[in-house]
Structure formats: structure tokens, C-alpha cells
Symmetry: C2
Subunit: 504 residues, 2 copies
């Protein structure tokens, strides 16, 4: 009977102090120590590396021969140097993906680096480099294992024991691990993963380790309909599917500006921050491919950074080493440039975006698309939600955003809803803009005054910086030319400290 | 006999001191005082405003009724505030264009502001604002006059006297004028403009005023084939067509990185810096149009600024007020943002670009277009000349630039040769990129290492900043996708002080 267990655990906690307490998750409306430390870290580098790297594949099933793993110039020290130079606070390493291949020498399988042509213990190399460069170390471990025989056993406990053995290797041989990221839980029932055992085991090694499973939250207790982060705007409305869990995950979704933190389990409310995951690749690939793929623009990286680290949430950016075993220069350059651009510096709080003076403001549109009974209303552009959008019913048109003329702004960011084309390679896609020309105007003494003209497509995210502050009762965003019905996810009108705005 | 005149003038100069001397131009290999001051100013705002502003026309013939000139909110103080905020050192005002319309109340014509609905003396308003905001004041005055009756007189001296009268008004009623920019000289023989009289008159008012006529230099003495700035790479090779002249003009051409300063007149060599003229509009319009037109990108403005102010030359940027009589906000924002971006600050020397480590380096190409007997050779991209270009013979290809591996770089700028489309409005054009995807690689330990991927068209000028310095024996620029035969005017590989590179 679970309620009794909880009472006993609290009682033991009170008796034996915080270590014992930390091994259970207790109802709370504020972050506990592990969560506080996680929120303070805020920004990590995600590293996907393994057998998939050598086969141009995103996911594999354990059948790739271990010999395929053969980096020619394996250099985990370089990975962590890049992380340090880019201002990341921690490195989150794939230690085992769904294919079951382990990046350390595990006693419990031969499908690991020790059996491969390049025997370097990558977990050790990365954790050592983290100590050397002053970063924290975190691990991703796939629950779903398509290789390990015990995974197929009728008794789920067999595989749970396998996981506990491997996690014990990870948590006892490589120093402190600040976070455990579990994935692939959809492949069996939540109760068959032994989350309570895993949680207790790991917290015993490090009570401050933050633990979670991808798609942490569901719409209904006991059901598997994962709660989309875009609707997490009310406390005590959604439920844990994996308990205990210290934070929320829903790779690769983004939460809203109005993200809430209280989630239910067996009638109790728990505090849970959100950790975002994004790829540096603008074409969404997690494991590196043999072909060079473009990275996200600095504008998009800046705004995704601010968006994802806002409101006590966190961000990890995936920067996967290639077949040589090194992070590519152009990908390293993208995150290091971002750090210089917005001032992500060691030992300083993470930089924050300015004040959104457009937040939840009224918006009217020249036209609104209604399709299949759905109205793509103008207010979507100020609702703080990147999943909702306004769409015009015509290829040109405008939005008028009402503002408080007492409030000032010097920055505008625009997220266009883009066309997405899946590529033949099966893993990547290309986004493309519909809007080709646009104009930003403010209402000034009875006239529309143009403060910006965009004569080129705005890319994945457009940041417009003004060299001065403006104040106005309404702002107009007009689309002069588009290749289809233009649609906008968000327009953020921002009051940024001037020194920070100059830098970007 | 001119040689004797020169001797006499020098003798008089020695006798009566520097003022008398300054009224003649003397052979020299160094800048004189007026030129020194001009070079020190370096960066000015050009202002086209007049009857054309109200008719969406670039040039007119004097037939536009004076009533058409009717700004609704004329505010020259705003023009100069923008100039100050953008770091300009001087304002160069059109006082009379080819149409003959005067922006001051001239005793010698009725085709002026005093006869128009808005009688404000614009020359006075701008010169006053320049004093108020600490900028210098310069005037453009068209030699060619399509309105003034004396211009049609058989005796050229009649119109020369008209000009001298008007210039006397300008130079005696508005305080110091640092520069006189004369235009339209092509309409009659050089000797019919009375340049010696005008020069002497103006220098009598202000010996430090720098004076010149558009298309100052010709290929052959006495002929009218204007010397293109792109060939001005040897001293004492080209000739004055208007003498005296303190500097060179060839609107809107750009000189090369190897611009020379010595030009010939009657067997003597004179020192002449170059003043560049560019439009803030990316579509080349001088007088403002009723329709908002886009401005040049910050990347292009930055590189044109550096290019034009390099090597003791100067730049004026045209930012024309509109029919209301004010500079448009989005155009003001472009130059003020540039000033913040690269650090153009009052009382500080103008910022400079870094060292071009690619200058005159060897380049090889995957293919070279030969068309009509012209070979578009690869070395064009490092020749410091924006008029020459490499063109591939195929829609994809690459350039390999040999570098000194002892030299470092952290910035690359690329000027693509673009397609230009003349628009129906008769005054503007649109440039468009052929190259759609490209990649930059360096040779590193026997491999090509990708340091940048461009997945979007590079616009009118592309600036790539790296967060670290690279050193390599060769750099490869590859074109992965293009809509036609790709062509490049310049690739500049630059060693930039790190603090400056971070800012941009």
C-alpha cells in the first residue's frame, strides 16, 4: 500500500536525515536540492555517439557489428573543451542508446567499446575531461534495449537487474554524475521499468543526481497519452507516468512561456522543472552523419536558448562527434559564437532575454484561415506558445499588435511557421519560409511609421535589433510577399537592456 | 601660358602666405591641409532632397513646378541628429541638383525654397543643426543646370558668374563649409565651367574647403573617357579633366585596395584622395521614393564602410529624407546600428578592418568560364578589386586559396557577383544571389575540415565571424548549389582583433 510506504519513508527520512530523505521524492511546491542544482546548471551539451555514428543511422536494433564502431581520431577531451568554450555547465553523454551498445567497458555485455576496435572507455574519458575543465557530468541511458537478451525475459525484473548492474558501474566508477536521463520507456508498461528501484539505487550513490524518463507526464493517470509541453500551463492537472522523476522531459518539444511546475502522483503534488533537448543541426539529426549538415542560425540559437532556460527550465544542445571521433569545427563554432554573442560565461548566471511587452497582448489580423474547423487566430502570436499559430487566409496581410505605449522595446523576434520537407535520407528535414518580404511599422501621430523592412526570407527565427527604444500603442507586422499562406507562431516585442542588445 | 601662371602663383603665395597659396593647387606627394582635414573626417552623410523627392524621380529638368516641393513635416534638425547618432563626421547636402532648384533663398533665381509652399531655408537649417550637434557641413552643387536661363547663353562666362554668385551666397551666409562637391560636368567642355575661378573664389572664403567635380580623372589628357576607379592602381598614369580639384570622385564606383593618389596635370603630379558615394537603399535610389525600399544589410554596410574608408579615402552614405521632410526610421536605424556594431564613435578614429591575409594570394579553381574571349580567372577573388570576378564554368565548383600558415584569420567576407534586375519604376534594381549553398574548409593534417556551412543565399555581402583564429596553408570555398554559373568578386580572409570581431 503506497500511502503507507510514503509515510514510512518520511519517518525514516526524519530519523536518518537528508540522505535517506533524498532517496524518495516528496510532495513539494519548491525545488529540492537536486532540482535547485539542476536549475542552476541550466545549460548542457548533449552528446550522441555510438555505433549509429558509423552507419548514418539515427536508431539501430543491436545488429550493427561492434567492429563498425571505429573512430579514427577519438578525442573526448576535445568534446569537453568545446563544451567549456561554449559556456555549457554540464555534458550529458549517451552511455547506451536503444541499440544497447555501451560506451564503457561493461562487465554485463560484450556489445561495448571494450570489444570494439577502439577500446577507449569513452565514459571515463568524458568524465575525466569534465573534471579537468570544471564541468559537471551527466548520463543518458536507454531503458529500451534492443540487444540485451534479459530484456526479452518474461520476468521484467531480470532486465531491471541488468540496468541496476550497469547503472552501478556508471555511478561508482566515474565520480559524481549530476543527472540521469532515461529514454525509450514507451516500449513497455511504466511499472515494468522498476523506476522506484532505479531511483533509489541512483540516489543512494548521489542524492543530488536529477533523474527523469522521456515523456515523463501523461494526461490521465495510468494512460500513455503523453502530455504535450505546450499545454502544461496549469498546475496539478497532469500526472506522472514514471514515478519517481525529478524533472520533466518531452524530447524535442518546447514548453510555453507560462510553463507550470506542479504534477500529480497518487493524489500528491510534486515540483518538476523541464529539460529541453535541441539539435545544433538545423535539420534535426542526433547522431552525426557522414555528410556535413548545416547548423541553426545564431538568431535561432539565441532565441531557443533564452526560451528554453527561462522560468527555471533547462536546455541541452546536441553536438554529436563525427566518425573521426571529434566534434566538427563548424558545429563547435556555432555554440562558441553563441556564447560570445549573448555572454554565456563561466561562473556567471546565464544571460536572460528582455521583458516581452507583447505577452498576451491583443492582436487583430487582416484575415484568418479557418481550415477543417480550426481557426488560426491572430492571438496565437502573443500567447507564448510556439506550437500555436496565426495563419492568414491570403498570401499577403498584416497583424496589428496592441501595446502599452508606456512600455518600450528595442528588439523583436519572429518565429514563422515554416514548410518542412522530409529528406530522402530518412533522418533529416529542411524548413523553408513562406514569407519573402515583410515590414514592421509603429503607430506614430496618426501614421504608420516603418521601423524595419525585411527583403529576404526570415530563416528559422528572425531577431531584429533596434538601436533605440520605441514606444507605441500598436505595432503592425505586414507581409508583402509570400509563397503560400503566411503563418506566424510568435512575435515577441522585447525590452532588452541596451548593452545586451548591442552585443548580439 | 600656364607654367608661368603657376610660377607667379607660387611666388605670390610665398609673398602673401598660406591663404594665397591655398587658392592654388600645388604639385605634391602628400595631402595638403584641406586634404588632411578631409581624410580625417572620412565619413559623411549625403542628403538628396529637393523637388525630385516629391515626384518619385531621380533627375528632373527644371520643369517641376516649385509648388510640388511641399514637405508636411520638414525637420532638418532630425536629419543631423541621425547623422550624429550614426557617427558621421559631416553632412553633405544637395543644395541644387541638375534641375536647378535651390534649397536656400537665392537672390539669383525664383526656383528655390523661398518660392515654394514651405519656405524654410534648408541650407541654413542643416548648417545650424551641424553647428548644434558638432558636425561639419558640406555642400553638393550641380554644375549642370537645366533651369537657369544663363546656362543657355553662348558665352559660358554668363553661367559661370551665376554659379559664382550662388556659391558666394552659400559660402558667406552659412558659416564654414568643409567640402564642395560639383556634379554634372559631362554636359559641357571642362574648360567651360571656369573651375579655376570657382576654386579660387571658394578657397578665398575657406582655404580648407575640399573641392572636386564628379569624374575628376580621365585616361588621357584632354579626352573625356573617365578613368574607372578600379584601374587607379598606378601613380602618375591618369589625368585631371577638371583642374584644380582637391580629391577624386566617380559616383558610385569603388576604388581598389591598391588605390594610388598621384595624378597628372600639365606635366606635374598632384595628390588626390578619393571620396566614395553609396546609397543606404539596397536598390540604388538617391532621392527618396514614396514607397519604402529596403536598406543594405549590416554585413554589406560594414564591409563597404571598411573598404571605402581604407587607405586615406572617404565615404559618404546617402540617406534621403522623404516627402514628409524626415529621414525614415528604418533607414536611420540601419546607419545607427552600423555605428553601434563596429564602433563608429565621435572623437575616436574611425574603426578599421583587420589584415587581409588573402591579399594577392594564389587561387586555383575547379573550373573557369571563358566567354567572348574573356577568362574569368580565380585570382580575381584576391586582387582587391570589386569590379573583377572569378566565374565557374559549371554550377558547382570550388576555389582553393593559398595562405601563409604562419598567418591567422577569424573573419571571412565574400562578395558574390549577383544578377541585377532593373525594376519597372525606372530607378531601382534588385540584386539576387546565384549561390544557394556553400561551404568553407581549411586544409588540416591532410584533410579538408569544414569550418562554416552556408545553407542560405549570402545576400549582397556575407561576413562570417569565427570565435577563434585559424591558420592553414589553404582554404577551400565550395559551391554546393547555384541557380546559374557562380561568380565571386572578392573573398577576403581577415585577421581581426578579437574584441572587434566579437562585436559585429
Amino acid at each position: 500500500m503506497k500511502f503507507r510506504k510514503y509515510i514510512v519513508s518520511v519517518w525514516l527520512g526524519l530519523l536518518f536525515g537528508t540522505v535517506a530523505l533524498a532517496q524518495q521524492q516528496v510532495p513539494a511546491t519548491k525545488p529540492n536540492k537536486a532540482q535547485q542544482l539542476m536549475i542552476k546548471r541550466g545549460y548542457g551539451m548533449f552528446i550522441h555517439f555510438g555505433v549509429n555514428t558509423f552507419t548514418d543511422i539515427e536508431w539501430s536494433d543491436g545488429s550493427i557489428p561492434v567492429e563498425k564502431y571505429n573512430p579514427t581520431n577519438l578525442d573526448p577531451d576535445q568534446w569537453v573543451r568545446v563544451a567549456r568554450d561554449a559556456g555549457f555547465r554540464y555534458v550529458l553523454l549517451i552511455t547506451k542508446h536503444h541499440d544497447g551498445f555501451c560506451l564503457w567497458d561493461s562487465k554485463y555485455t560484450d556489445y561495448d567499446v571494450a570489444s570494439s576496435p577502439v577500446k577507449m572507455d569513452v565514459v571515463k574519458a568524458v568524465s575525466d575531461a569534465c573534471k579537468k575543465y570544471g564541468l559537471e557530468f551527466a548520463v543518458y541511458y536507454s531503458l529500451w534495449d534492443r540487444k540485451e537478451p534479459s530484456y526479452q525475459d518474461k520476468d521484467p525484473q531480470k532486465y531491471i537487474d541488468y540496468m541496476k548492474n550497469q547503472l552501478t558501474e556508471l555511478f561508482t566508477n566515474y565520480g559524481d554524475i549530476c543527472e540521469l536521463w532515461l529514454d525509450g520507456g514507451w516500449d513497455r508498461k511504466p511499472e515494468d521499468w522498476g523506476m522506484d528501484q532505479i531511483y533509489k539505487l541512483v540516489k543512494g550513490f548521489n542524492p543530488n543526481c536529477a533523474i527523469s524518463v522521456n515523456h515523463t507526464i501523461v494526461n490521465e493517470a495510468g494512460k500513455r497519452d503523453f502530455t504535450h509541453p505546450s499545454v502544461m500551463t496549469e498546475d496539478n492537472t497532469y500526472f506522472f507516468q514514471y514515478f519517481p522523476s525529478d524533472f520533466r522531459l518531452w524530447d524535442p518539444m518546447l514548453i510555453t512561456r507560462y510553463d507550470k511546475k506542479q504534477y500529480l502522483h497518487e493524489g500528491q503534488s510534486y515540483y518538476l522543472p523541464f529539460e529541453h533537448t535541441i539539435c545544433i543541426s538545423s535539420r534535426w539529426n542526433w547522431f552525426q552523419k557522414s555528410m556535413d549538415l548545416p547548423v541553426r542560425s545564431q538568431d535561432e540559437l539565441e532565441e531557443l536558448f533564452y526560451w528554453s532556460t527561462y522560468n527555471d527550465n533547462c536546455l541541452v544542445v546536441n553536438i554529436p562527434p563525427d566518425q573521426t571521433g571529434r566534434i566538427r569545427e563548424y558545429e563547435a563554432n556555432a555554440v562558441i559564437s553563441l556564447a560570445k554573442r549573448i555572454g554565456i560565461t563561466k561562473n556567471k548566471p546565464l544571460p536572460t532575454n528582455g521583458t516581452f511587452i507583447s505577452a498576451l497582448q491583443d492582436v487583430t489580423a487582416s484575415s484568418t484561415l479557418v481550415e477543417d474547423g480550426v481557426s488560426y487566430a491572430a492571438t496565437a502570436v502573443t500567447d507564448g506558445n510556439l506550437e500555436s499559430r496565426w495563419s492568414a487566409a491570403d498570401t499577403t496581410g498584416f497583424l496589428d499588435i496592441t501595446l502599452d505605449p508606456k512600455k518600450r522595446f528595442n528588439k523583436i523576434t519572429i518565429f514563422e511557421y515554416q514548410d518542412t520537407k522530409q529528406l530522402d535520407d530518412g533522418f533529416s528535414n529542411i524548413r523553408s519560409n513562406r514569407i519573402q518580404e515583410y515590414i514592421v511599422q509603429i503607430w506614430n501621430n496618426g501614421n504608420w511609421e516603418t521601423i524595419y523592412i525585411g527583403a529576404e526570407p526570415m530563416g528559422d527565427c528572425k531577431v531584429i535589433r533596434f538601436p533605440k527604444y520605441y514606444q507605441t500603442a500598436k505595432l503592425r507586422f505586414s507581409i508583402l510577399k509570400a509563397t503560400g499562406l503566411p503563418a506566424i507562431k510568435e512575435i515577441n516585442i522585447i525590452d532588452m537592456p541596451e548593452a545586451q542588445n548591442k552585443k548580439g
